[in-house]
């Protein structure tokens, strides 16, 4: 079983990202679970969301303490939120930033993958909603979930043009990180 944590801000779709991740994993034939950090965070406040994926039925109901993967939707969080907390040393962290990995001040042994998801989103979607780009990158960087499944699910969730565009974002992000 792999555990994933997503950091973002209220309004950036972190919970949706976790859900899409779980759905896509399920689509790929895995068992999956997704849930937000329980609470009611106001727009703009830092939020977290979680997912678990596994070959076998998931029964565990506790919070995620030692994620294999961490996704950071907004690098402005790095100063205030402890995004690296508990991440496995052989895990991976996917960070949305225009900067280079080396410019980031993250204290972890885990591999850090960066991506300018904001730009990608602005380019294709016309608005700074980066969650699908980061999911595409997650697929590419980890191979845990296929980008096809993700695309399928995002199209299902957002029928019509919006879904198509997001699928495109996923595809592209997936490529960028080498998926």
């Amino acid at each position: 079983m792999e555990e994933i944590r997503i950091h973002g801000r209220g309004g950036q779709g972190s919970v949706t990202a976790a859900e899409l991740l779980a759905e896509a994993a399920f689509e790929d034939g895995l068992e999956a679970q997704a849930f937000p950090a329980f609470g009611v965070e106001r727009r703009g406040a830092p939020v977290r969301a979680f997912a678990r994926i596994s070959d076998t039925k998931i029964r565990l109901r506790s919070q995620v303490y030692e994620p294999t993967y961490v996704i950071v939707q907004d690098a402005t969080l790095l100063g205030t939120v402890d995004v690296e907390e508990g991440i496995k040393s052989d895990g991976k962290m996917i960070v949305n930033t225009s900067r280079d990995q080396s410019q980031l001040d993250i204290d972890t042994e885990a591999e850090i993958i960066t991506l300018d998801a904001t730009k990608l989103a602005l380019d294709i979607l016309g608005k700074p909603i980066m969650n699908t780009a980061l999911l595409g990158a997650f697929s590419g960087a980890t191979g845990e979930v296929s980008v096809e499944a993700m695309k399928k699910r995002v199209k299902k969730r957002f029928p019509g043009e919006l879904g198509e565009k997001n699928a495109k974002v996923m595809e592209k992000a997936n490529k960028i990180v080498g998926g």
């Binding site: 703009g44 402005t76 790095l78 100063g79």
Partner: protein, 89 residues
């Protein structure tokens, strides 16, 4: 452990810096500012402060608390406040 019955000190949310929530930052052009205090009146955070700059009464934001909502900018009658995207740091 927790204190008796969950009593809190007055005004103590000031210990928490909501400035970290901000995506856009208001920047006041003191030259334009006419000191009308509209921004101060309308700020939901109560985080705008009066200042004297070059002998002129102007207003500025306390960035510790400013959430970057943009109301001040929107309501400034002389367009003295710009909202600028926060940089990663």
């Amino acid at each position: 452990m927790v204190n008796f019955a969950g009593i809190a000190e007055p005004g103590s949310t000031k210990n928490y810096k909501t400035g970290t929530w901000r995506t856009y930052r208001p920047v006041v052009d003191f030259d334009k500012c006419i000191g009308c205090a509209k921004c101060w009146e309308y700020c939901p955070e109560g985080c705008i402060i009066e200042l004297e700059v070059d002998g002129k009464e102007v207003y500025e934001t306390d960035l510790d608390y400013c959430k970057g909502c943009g109301i001040c900018s929107e309501e400034c009658p002389v367009g003295a406040i710009e909202m600028e995207l926060e940089e990663e740091d």
